[in-house]
Structures are given as structure tokens and as C-alpha cells.
Point group: C2
Chain length 233, copies 2
């Protein structure tokens, strides 16, 4: 926070180049963009570009970091709103579907390419960092689990990302709410199986109520989908 205060030009040109990238990405897809294209669109010099980014990928990444920041701010706002007033429940999975849905053009333009893989990794790392501590906290006993928490985390994040991928690849045939529901159906039983039976349930009822409609499971789920209670970064 105590940074030196950056030159106005720096922010401006960085923004210009990011805007150029986005415009071009929607126009012709990421991989087919050349540095020259960006230069022309943003109307900046070649050397200027390389003064800011090592290559095209770094520019793309900077844009995703920007998006991530916006998303985090939005989530934080929701959380504080929920704590103070009577705001709706926070559901990060649902919000993720909504958020990515809004940016589907960007996704389309990079999916299936090297850039797509890059972003997938980026998101995977990010989400795993959020989720893993939560799952660690949820494990019922300290005994060895049938599946290591690290693997469960990986699995869960992969599931989410793959669902999103499917959704976007198929032009979002269902609303985000439906997708969130599917995700819940598909993953909740797995989590319980992996973390040990009755994981994350209040101590009272442990093995009763085999139907999945109990509130305890739901509340567990809210824990899972509310990672900001355990700041992961």
C-alpha cells in the first residue's frame, strides 16, 4: 500500500493494452492476435509493450488478475452486507457461474488453446488455495482419510472448472442456478465420502437421516461455498 505512486502514463498504457487485447480477443481469438495487432489497436510503440510485459501471455494474465480482484471485491462486499444487514446468502459457486457467464466471450476466445490451459491452471491454483484450508477444517477425525485432502481439493476444483467449461462450451444452456445445483448434486456425496462419513455435520446427528435433504449437509455446503471465512490468501 505504501507504494511510490506510479507515473500516470504507466497505468494508462497498461490499460490501453489490456483494452486492446480484449477487443481483439473477441474479434479474432487470442492465439491469432500478434503483438503488432495490439500495438496498432492501442496505438503504442513496440518497445513500450515490451517495457511492460514480457510477452502476450503476461498481458493476458494481468487481465485475469484484474478480473480476479474485481470478483474478490464483489465477494467481500456481499459478505459484509450479509453480516450487517439482511442480505441474501453468499454462494461463491453460484457467483462464479454468474461471473464467468458474463465473461463468456473472453472464455470462448481462449478455450482449448495454450492460453486456455494457462488460465485453467491459474484458476485451479487460486481456487485450490481457497478451498483446501476449508476442507482441512472440515475433516472429522485426525485419522488417515481414505482420500488425502489434497486430492479431494484437486478433485473438487477440477469438477467445478470442468462443469464451467462444459457450460460455456455449450453456450450456457442452463441458468447459473441450475448449474450450481448440478454441481452440488454431483460433488456433495463425494465430499462426504472422501472426508469420512458425517464430515462437517454438527456433532449431534451423525449417522441418521440417509436422505440428503437435512439442513446440516446444507450448512456444511455453505461452509464449503463460503471460503472467505477462512482467508486463504
Amino acid at each position: 500500500m505504501g507504494e511510490k505512486k506510479e507515473d500516470r502514463r504507466v497505468g494508462r498504457t497498461r490499460r490501453l493494452m489490456q483494452e486492446a487485447l480484449m477487443a481483439l480477443v473477441e474479434e479474432k481469438g487470442y492465439e491469432r492476435i500478434t503483438v503488432q495487432d495490439i500495438l496498432d489497436w492501442a496505438d503504442v510503440g513496440r518497445s513500450t509493450f515490451y517495457a511492460h510485459f514480457r510477452d502476450k501471455d503476461e498481458l493476458l494474465l494481468s487481465w485475469f488478475e484484474h478480473l480476479r480482484t474485481l470478483f474478490e471485491q464483489q465477494q467481500q462486499a456481499l459478505l459484509t452486507a450479509r453480516r450487517t444487514g439482511n442480505a441474501p446468502e453468499v454462494n461463491i459457486v453460484l457467483d462464479l457461474f454468474r461471473y464467468t457467464g458474463k465473461h463468456h466471450k473472453l472464455y470462448k476466445a481462449i478455450s482449448g488453446r495454450e492460453s486456455g490451459e494457462m488460465i485453467r491452471k491459474y484458476l485451479h491454483r487460486y481456487l485450490s488455495g481457497l478451498l483446501q484450508p476449508v476442507l482441512e477444517g472440515l475433516r472429522v477425525s485426525r485419522r488417515t482419510l481414505p482420500v488425502p485432502v489434497e486430492v479431494t481439493t484437486h478433485q473438487l476444483v477440477s469438477s467445478l472448472l470442468s462443469l464451467m467449461t462444459w457450460w460455456l462450451d455449450h453456450n450456457m444452456p442452463y441458468p447459473p442456478e441450475k448449474m450450481e445445483e448440478m454441481f452440488r448434486i454431483l460433488t456433495r456425496p463425494s465430499i462426504e465420502a472422501a472426508l469420512g462419513k458425517g464430515a462437517a455435520r454438527p456433532k449431534e446427528e451423525a449417522a441418521v437421516n440417509p436422505k440428503g435433504n437435512d439442513d446440516s449437509a446444507t450448512s456444511f455446503y455453505n461452509l464449503f461455498i463460503d471460503p472467505f471465512c477462512c482467508p486463504g490468501r
Copy 2:
């Protein structure tokens, strides 16, 4: 099968180039290989290369198709052995872990790159093609499912691939058997949840035996892991 019989040179040079690719891939990783490298290693002319493959990617893909063929032949052999004599059960997931484990160097060399994404897609398509008809056959009723079979398929295949990815990325810290077990733990309950309660269980026992050790679930699982009973391609 009634092909014209190919010129001996064709097979030889194709094989030479594939071998070159593999040798180089282990040496410096896929993306850093140039066509020239391949030419030098295989000792073939430039124009020859382009007479066979449009580009580097096509060469890589041809290699994976080769590997897939080998794998399928192995599976077929196991299946017929099982039908005739008293061979062990066929478990395609386990075999997949074993098979990819044997080729982990290749995986390492392409993971995380554009090529990795390409291969991931290739495998995804291939496995989905095998699995989807099986799942279609398993659905209990014709009513609308909470999760479309297509999504469940996608989800399941993604899970498998992501587990494999994790396993290879971490230098195979567990034996294939353990991985197959984890995969079963993580996905079996999801499948049942997605296909409807009691899916793929013999009609008799439907909702009893909440512990997961029943043979019916296992047999169901064998169905899932034995896609060759419903030829998908």
C-alpha cells in the same frame, strides 16, 4: 482392411519421425522442439515431413492414436481372456492408470502446454464416447434426471483425467491401485446421485445397506469400468 498395401517407405519414415519426436520430447519437452530438430534426428528431408504431417501437432496426435490402438488391443485381449478362461476382472480405470504411468515421461513433456490441452481434449472425447452410452443404459427411469447424462459423463471423465493429471504432476506418489480406489470413492456416490437413487442396482435390494460395501454397487462399478460391452466406436 482392404487397403492397397502401403509402400514400405511410408511406414518407415512415419515411424522414424515418431521415434524422433518421442526421443526429443523426453530430452527437451514438446514445445521447444522445432521441425528442424525432428528432421535432424530422424534424418529425413524437410519436404518429406510435410508430405506426411501438416505440422508438429499432427505428428504428436498420430503418436497418441498409436498408443490408443495399443491400449485398445490390450483391453480386447484381456476381455476375451476373461470370457474364455479364468482371467482376473477387467478394470479399465486401473489399467488406464497403469498405462499412463508407464508413459509418464511423455505426459510430463507436454503437460500444461498447448499440446497438453490438445491431448486432454482428445482423451476426453475418446473416453466420453465410451462412457456415455454406458451411463445412458444405467439410468433407472426414463424420467428427467436431476443432472443430464451428458453432464454426468463430462463430469466423470473430467474427474478421471484430473486425478490422472494430479497423479502424474506429483510424480505418482501412490500406486495405480490406490488411485483407482480413490477415484471410486470420489465418484461412485456422485454417479448414483446423478442417475437417480439406486441406479444400476439389481432390482431386489434398493435402499438398504447404507454402507458402501455391497456387491451391487461394485458390480455396477464394473459395468462402468467395462465399456467394451457397449462398443462406443
